[in-house]
């Protein structure tokens, strides 16, 4: 008698969805909130898993992927969004498709005061640079929102950030 397989986590479902949409470049600065996606990309022989030294490298990387006809995603923390701002000139000016999934800090139940300035400014600065922000607060919303973002980015050519809030991913204990 075989055991029932555990249902896939929403993070695993998001990874599968990205792969179904031919996302082949996964760029990130290591982050606990994106651990499943990062680990899946490292274990997947059909994608490039690209660890960055700073998030703005990922913005440029994904523009290069697009020039070559490939699709990518940037996985980052809200603090990393601040590191991307001028590089988003490339996305906005060049009309590049751009998809980022952002694990929020400085948000719902955050205990580290250092995370608040950038966490609270994340949506405002991204929107100022032309990135559409979609928030997800439950596992169901996360999957639906990433699905919507994939259409908005790779079909309609937009720049979209999916904000994975701390209601969804939980607040780190301090």
């Amino acid at each position: 008698m075989s055991a029932e397989p555990a249902p896939a986590s929403w993070q695993d479902q998001v990874y599968d969805l990205l792969r179904q949409h031919n996302v082949t470049q996964f760029a990130y600065v290591p982050d606990a909130g994106h651990r499943t996606l990062i680990d899946r990309s490292l274990a997947d022989p059909n994608v490039h898993s690209v660890a960055l030294t700073t998030e703005e490298e990922g913005v440029a990387l994904l523009a290069g992927a697009d020039l070559g006809g490939a699709r990518g995603v940037l996985l980052m923390q809200s603090s990393g969004a601040g590191n991307c701002i001028n590089m988003l000139s490339l996305v906005k000016g060049g009309g590049f498709p751009f998809l980022t999934l952002i694990s929020m800090r400085g948000d719902f139940g955050e205990g580290n005061p250092w995370q608040y300035p950038m966490g609270q400014a994340t949506q405002a600065v991204l929107e100022a640079m032309g990135v559409i922000c979609l928030r997800a607060e439950t596992p169901e919303e996360a999957l639906r929102t990433v699905s919507a973002a994939l259409t908005m980015v790779f079909q309609a050519g937009n720049a979209v950030a999916v904000l994975l809030t701390q209601k969804l991913i939980g607040a780190k204990k301090f």
Partner: protein, 204 residues
């Protein structure tokens, strides 16, 4: 004829003797061998003059610090093509961590040429760190890029031309040049036009 500012003449070090108007075309050779990503200012004009601002060139006039990583994304997306990033010392210094990221991936179809004039030419020829002791070839090698070369004279150009075409891992070539003006070439500055031009040329 290239012009040279007074500050530049004072700053000129013995290693910075090649003229970019001759050295960059001599190093690159047959431009049809590559897809190009060109950094800001001088190098975008170097490459535009060589390729006649061709569809196989994506050159920048902003988003400083992005050239090497655009090259990485393109090289990973198109392992069947050779990608050549041509950028300046100032542009590369702005995101020097990119060399570490690239070294870890080490795509065999990517080469980086840094045209190092030791100055920020676009903003009035202020000295860059490379005029003050910073060695970008050593940083590239220290990042883990295995095939690196510094070119300071005509004798090394042929080896550089070979290195940027070989497929044994990412290559980095530091081309030291005099701080003189780049080609006076008027290229398309619209980043969206250049994206569409590039994708149409490569993917159509």
């Amino acid at each position: 004829m290239a012009t040279q500012t007074k500050a530049v003449a004072e700053a000129m070090a013995p290693a910075f003797v090649l003229d970019r108007l001759e050295a960059v075309p001599a190093l690159i050779g047959r431009h049809e061998d590559f897809l190009f990503v060109a950094g800001l200012a001088g190098t975008s004009r170097d490459v535009a003059a060589i390729t006649n601002d061709g569809a196989h060139t994506y050159s920048m006039a902003g988003a400083m610090g992005g050239a090497a990583m655009i090259g990485l994304g393109l090289a990973l997306a198109r392992p069947d093509k050779r990608v050549l990033v041509v950028t300046g010392d100032g542009e590369l210094l702005m995101n020097i961590g990119a060399l570490a990221t690239i070294a870890v991936l080490n795509p065999p179809n990517l080469s980086i040429v840094c045209v190092d004039n030791g100055h920020y030419g676009e903003t009035g020829y202020q000295k860059s760190h490379t005029s003050l002791g910073v060695d970008l070839e050593k940083i590239a090698a220290g990042s883990g890029i295995k095939r690196t070369l510094t070119i300071e004279g005509e004798a090394e150009l042929a080896e550089g031309a070979r290195l940027i075409r070989e497929g044994n891992g990412t290559a980095f070539v530091l081309l030291r040049v005099k701080p003189t003006e780049p080609p006076a070439f008027k290229r398309d500055l619209n980043p969206a036009n250049c994206r569409l031009r590039f994708r149409t040329g490569l993917l159509a």
